[in-house]
Amino acid sequence: MKPVLLKHFTAVSCIGRGLAQILEALQQQRSGLAPCRFETVDLHTHVGEVPGVDAVRIPAALRAYDCRNNRLAELGLSQDGFADAVRAAAAAYGPRRVGVFIGTSTAGILETEIAYRRRVAGGPLPDDFQYAAAHNTFSVADFVRRRLDLCGPAVVVSCACASSAKVFASARRMLEAGLIDAALVGGVDSLCLTTLYGFHSLQLCSPGPCRPFDVARDGISIGEAAAFAWLERCPTSLDGGAVVLLGIGESCDAHHMSAPHPQGLGARLAMQAALAAAALPPEAVDYINLHGTGTPSNDRAESLAVTALFGGTTPCSSTKGATGHTLGAAGALEAVISALALQHGFMPGGVPATRVDPELGAGYLKDNRRTPPNRVLSNSFGFGGTNCSLLFGRAA
């Protein structure tokens, strides 16, 4: 595939608002997970809640879109001068030539959950409930495009926890096909009762902070995040340190709705496809940001896939012990983390992972490594057996 430039990017998660805070948390291997105090949830679990989301104000003209998910999107867009950079770039290209591709799994379903609670005796939903602007899966992409006055193609990709990795694939295809000249991609997923009680019903939530790849790992910690990137076709000459998307691999497990293929077949196919798209061998990858959710079976399958392709020495880690599993936002958030690792010359160690499971053969990093990576692979896998791997590189 033709490489794609990540010209601007930003993120918000429980470890920080904007790149500087997120970078500092990663460099200190600090976790943002805390016991769950979200809404009326009465589960014994930890979450990665973004502080201050309730205080975010949606502009009056877009009041219909007001919901936690879109407030989180608004908070993300306002970091690092991202919205201003998008407006300036969109003005140069023309707003019809910019595509908007946002990944989400939750959209604003929290609003619907609350609306159901407000019903009287099985009656209608409250009059102020906004289906299209809050509940519907498309609501976050519609909000973002209206907020930034973009009027090119727009879509939500909703493939569970691979959603906002796959937005890079959709954007790259439309750039290559020539329908657009730039793309705003991202992922926004917010805490809600459906995911908290849902993962709990599957017994996949850890009571404590999640411990990916740890010998005593016992499930995920759900987080929330908004992460965005502005993509353009790669110019012929690049600034040193520029971050470039070199390869994308997508696959399906064809195995089970909520459990990974036991040997990590789909995961391996996605990583192989990303390498093939970049025309690079496995040795070219310096660090892998794992999907690494912290469930016993997910980490085992991913480790098998990684070792089958890379052996046991390529440094890898999961940053979900720091951020929580941000579900539909995880792909974009970890793309941003990968970009920070490339730009700032380090490989983030896992958080906390004090005792790496000896049965997992992958070369798991416990501590940050000060070796600047030139290429980073980022994995995102989801329910339905959907997989996506993104391969990023740093311009010399």
């Binding site: 379903i109 959950e113 609306a115 009656g123 879509v155 939500v156 990709v157 694939a169 439309m174 696959s251």
Partner: protein, 265 residues
Amino acid sequence: MSLCAYVAGIGVLGPGLPDWPAARAVLRGETAYVPAATVLPPPAILPPAERRRTGRVVKLALAVALEAAGRAGAEPKSLACVFSSSGGDGNNCHELCAALAAPGREISPTRFSNSVHNAAAGYWSIATGAVGASTVLCAYDASFAAGLLEALAQIAADGGALLLVAYDTDYPEPLRAKRPIPDAFGMALALTAQRSPASLARIEARLGAAACDRLADGSLEALRTSIPAARSLPLLSRLARAEAGPASIEYLDGSRTLVEVEPCA
């Protein structure tokens, strides 16, 4: 690079439209359109354990996807996939929200697994063994056009063959009052980059602002406007009549996706 592909197979299932041959006859004006509740077949290609877990949206998507792949003579597992739906499984969503509003908040793990927007794509992959690229989209009422643009961009950029599957099912109350989709409608196109003996027509899309096509029959036009996936009817109509020319499909905010149809004689 133009956004074009060849249509090799079509699947349709909706109110009074049990399959593509029936829909084709209606759209050609050979038989009258008689609206009737959509009948969804059980997904026989799924293993029994998975079959029991599937709701209306999965049955609908798998039925039209299988029909399109079958009519194209394509091996389902060989096809990349683009699924597009304006809302996912309405009944499942209602049951989850109702359970979360009740004391105890006991929700079914199966309902939760099925709540992902990519449930139909996941079951399709399990049923067929397809391990290739698959994506699942939503663009509210523009979901069909968004899926078509994604599918054509994928073929333009990477070639190959893929299935575009667009489908919507109805919500029960109380969500139905807020999102009044009356019934289930789905359609699928098996698309290829290269012309083959199976090719029915070449289609090429671009964005535009022309008036969108309406259907002469009042009941068909009501179907088109009431179920997002049925926004595809102007394109299906041209394909049914093997008639060259543009189909203007509703996209975002009054914009259109214009699909030029050129039958392969």
